[in-house]
């Protein structure tokens, strides 16, 4: 393997001291409570804050218990000219999604890994329908996302967080996008799953047919699904039903995001008023 001269190198090989996590079928116990005490349809408490990065045009931080994601958005800049001849009438969102090396149970590499790249694309596809792309032709808006700690639903958290960061950056948007995630195995459905629940549902417990995890990017005002990322094994009828149920769940998160943004605008108006009074 080539040596990375740009970083301080550790020993050639090292290994995790923890034993690999086994899947915990006990999460599926028929009781009404989940491992962290939530009901199946209950979301973790959301902590959301815009304007956390001073150097960015807009930014936001989201915390779903142990899942922690930070996002910053920059001014539109001219597109990295790939096709000079090709005039595009629409702008573009460029997303870079990265899991911090210490964000998961296992240490991750500094370089962008395959799932970082995949999530970057999924996030871009989830955000673009929400943005008035025609207002900045030939320009791209950079959206940078860093997952500080991953305990499930990190893509969903990133969508919500990036939506708020875009609004904070005053990028014109049709709606505030909301990300939601659901894991299911057999008859049990976990809304806003934790990392353990996600792993278990992705794998499925033997003998039960339907299982999987899906993340949905949602624009509540126009009732649009901008991203539907699913992995698992499920019948179309049930899947269709689950998607249609998402609307009500999204409305709640959407309200919360709107309220946070409103109060952020209010407080910045107040502070700018005060400073004008000082003069």
């Amino acid at each position: 393997m080539p040596v990375d001269h740009r970083r301080i190198q550790g020993p050639e090989c090292s290994e995790d001291y923890r034993k690999p996590k086994t899947l915990d079928a006990a999460l599926l116990k028929k009781g009404s409570r989940r491992a962290d005490g939530r009901k199946c349809g209950e979301q973790r408490k959301i902590f959301l804050k815009p304007g956390v990065v001073s150097q960015a045009k807009g930014s936001a931080y989201i915390e779903l218990d142990h899942t922690k994601v930070i996002c910053s958005v920059f001014d539109p800049r001219e597109k990295a000219s790939r096709n000079l001849e090709q005039q595009t009438v629409r702008g573009e969102i460029f997303c870079e999604f990265k899991f911090a090396s210490f964000s998961g149970v296992q240490r991750r590499s500094h370089q962008q890994e395959a799932d970082d790249k995949e999530y970057s694309l999924l996030l871009k596809n989830a955000l673009e329908p929400a943005v008035c792309l025609h207002e900045f032709p030939n320009f791209q808006v950079d959206v940078q996302v860093l997952v500080l700690q991953d305990d499930g639903s990190s893509l969903a958290a990133a969508i919500t967080c990036a939506g708020l960061a875009l609004a904070d950056a005053a990028v014109p948007m049709y709606d505030l996008p909301v990300g939601l995630s659901k894991a299911f195995s057999g008859d049990t459905e976990f809304f806003d799953p934790t990392g353990a629940e996600e792993r278990m549902c992705l794998r499925g417990v033997d003998g039960e047919s339907d299982h999987g995890v899906f993340t949905i990017g949602f624009l509540p005002t126009f009732n649009q699904v901008s991203q539907l990322f699913h992995s698992g094994h499920i019948s179309s009828d049930r899947f269709g039903k689950m998607i249609s149920e998402v609307g009500t769940l999204a409305a709640e998160v959407h309200k919360a995001v709107q309220a946070i943004l409103l109060s952020a605008v209010k407080s910045s108006i107040d502070s700018s008023d005060n400073s004008k009074l000082l003069l």
Partner: protein, 210 residues
């Protein structure tokens, strides 16, 4: 200024009003299915023009706008060549940009008359701050500017002594220290105005920035 509770604050995707003949969507808004929605988080403003109410949303952060044809921009001259000069756009209207945009000002767009006799070196110098209008986009990656109006052209230019020069005609500026004259395409701005602005600001700037 009015206090917060008198203003309407909105977030992207919020319905502002029904769109009609006398209510149209302006900046920071968009129209869908007969309604005007906000596309920005900020304060709603309604501007009345010829009996038509233009509904706008003004963001607190300067907008993520890009120059559009017809805008008046403030730009800094970077390189002057014989047929054109390169600039970077610093402000669009009265919005200061955080990232500049590249732009080109061609020889034929420097002034409205006697276009063929324009000499770029006698109109601009690197470092000058100019006011210009954005032309319709021809080339994909650069904006084209024009100073072919009386009010457009050089507004701030520094002499070799490092002090701002004073315009003495629409083609000349003079250094107040060693009185050398330089040729420029000068914008028609009342000169005192600039001086007052420059001096005053140093006095009022002491408040903590927000």
């Amino acid at each position: 200024m009015s206090s917060t509770n008198e203003r309407i604050i909105c977030v992207p995707g919020q319905v502002l009003c029904a769109s009609s003949n006398d209510h149209v969507a302006g900046q920071g808004t968009f129209e869908r299915m007969g309604y005007i929605y906000a596309s920005l988080a900020g304060v709603v403003k309604v501007e009345k023009k010829l009996e038509i109410n233009i509904v706008q949303v003004q963001s607190l952060k300067e907008q993520s706008t890009v120059p559009s044809p017809g805008d008046i921009v403030t730009a800094r001259v970077l390189i002057v060549k014989s047929r054109q000069c390169m600039c970077e756009i610093k402000c669009i209207g009265d919005i200061a940009l955080t990232r500049p945009f590249r732009a080109v000002l061609r020889q034929e767009d420097v002034r409205a008359t006697e276009k063929d006799r324009v000499k770029m070196y006698e109109s601009f110098a690197p470092g000058d701050i100019i006011l210009a209008r954005v032309l319709p986009i021809m080339d994909v990656h650069t904006y084209q500017l024009s100073t072919a109006e009386n009010e457009l052209g050089v507004v701030i230019s520094h002499s070799e002594a490092g002090v701002p020069m004073v315009p003495i005609s629409w083609t000349e500026m003079q250094c107040p220290v060693n009185f050398t004259k330089k040729l420029r395409k000068v914008a028609k701005v009342i000169p005192e105005n600039i001086d007052i602005d420059m001096e005053d600001n140093t006095e009022t700037e002491k408040k903590p920035s927000t």
